[in-house]
Subunit: 234 residues, 2 copies
């Protein structure tokens, strides 16, 4: 199966969680907008395609299926890419992890955009300062502490006791936060030994290492989910 | 199978999306905290149970499985409760709908709590006024307009062309918003004929009607996701 991933160019964004799974599995895929431009997304978003319109990118075209929402795409890709255990109960566990990661990703985004995604950061700096403070003090330790505990519960090396798309997403989360909130993350480091070791192991996987060294991996920047604004980092 | 739903007492909250599915299907379930108190949630959240710890309620105990995250719970319950079509591609569509609903629910919550869930509304009124304005003008019409279009795409009567847990969640969304943002919702009404008709049909389903008339259905209040603060309604 040749997959077609649709996501905005210029940022890693939510598309990166899907991209990491496709890259790790060595899947045959096209990153369509990077070849043809962002305009290829529009007919899908405007409901001009035969498939159910997605609310937002990323979405994945697999044959006639068009699947949106990161956790849904990964739930679908898990079995064919061998990135999830086979048992239904384990797939539910993977989905539960991924949905909690998705909730955290939304909060990470809102730490710099607490008022509106449609406004520039500069238009909500004061509110962002307040939200980011709560984020650093409460939400970041709360989510990461939970992931660390759940990882230990699972045996300490893998979210699901074996390699899966969840590990890839946890890697992205850790690296993204280290870029955006380096000071806050240094403070957390000692509390998160398993999570940090997992991120290192993911980074050393041959296909991931090759991907990260390729031009396909964009750098983190201040357009995406993970943004480094020093004044928000305490 | 006797299901055990775990969710905070005193609010409908995210638990209500699961409760509606259990009620509509006439499932055998216990709403555990309402019988035994909120303290029964703690051992799960603290990782003192054999199952993987959930990040937050609601979670569902089904035999030895403990499943968290609303969309995940509904994905699991869909087939045994006959609340989702059987085909895998249709279950993915249901999950996609539900995840977009979940994203919207988080934004609805943050419209009155843009800075921190741990602070009172009164401590973030100014920021809430600003966020709620964007919510009413941009996000509410954007999400509801999308749901209306996707509903029309599916034939106009049901999110999945047949009754499913998604219809139940759309009903909850519409009624919750009508409670919280009555003025904003009146302005949207003419744009949402299919969504409104769907909510009415759900409300007339015998088991749902019986549930809504029962003491098991709590009233909307200013503790939950959907909160009515007139000053936020424009």
């Amino acid at each position: 199966m040749r997959y077609q991933l649709y996501y905005w160019t210029g940022i890693q964004g939510r598309g990166e969680f899907v991209r990491l799974a496709l890259e790790d599995a060595g899947a045959d895929y096209a990153d369509v907008a990077r070849v043809e431009g962002d305009r290829v997304l529009q007919p899908f978003l405007e409901g001009k395609m035969p498939a159910m319109p997605p609310f937002a990118p990323p979405f994945l075209k697999a044959g006639r299926l068009v699947i949106a929402q990161v956790a849904n795409i990964l739930h679908y890709l898990g079995p064919p890419l061998a990135l999830v255990p086979r048992a239904e109960s384990r797939r539910l566990q993977a989905l539960q992890w991924q949905l909690t990661i998705a909730d955290f990703v939304a909060e990470i985004h809102d730490s710099h955009h607490p008022i509106a995604g449609s406004l520039y950061y500069e238009e909500q700096r004061k509110e962002a300062a307040r939200r980011a403070e709560d984020f650093r003090r409460q939400r970041l330790p709360h989510f990461l502490g939970y992931f660390e505990r759940a990882l230990v519960w699972a045996g300490g090396r893998h979210a699901l006791g074996q390699h899966s798309y969840v590990d890839l997403s946890l890697f992205q989360l850790v690296r993204g936060l280290e870029y955006a909130y380096p000071r806050a993350m240094r403070k957390q480091a000692r509390r998160l030994p398993h999570l940090r070791a997992l991120a290192e192991r993911v980074e050393e996987r041959p296909r991931i290492a090759a991907y990260l060294a390729s031009p396909r991996r964009l750098a983190f920047n201040t357009q995406g989910i993970f943004r480094h604004y020093p004044e928000l980092d305490g």
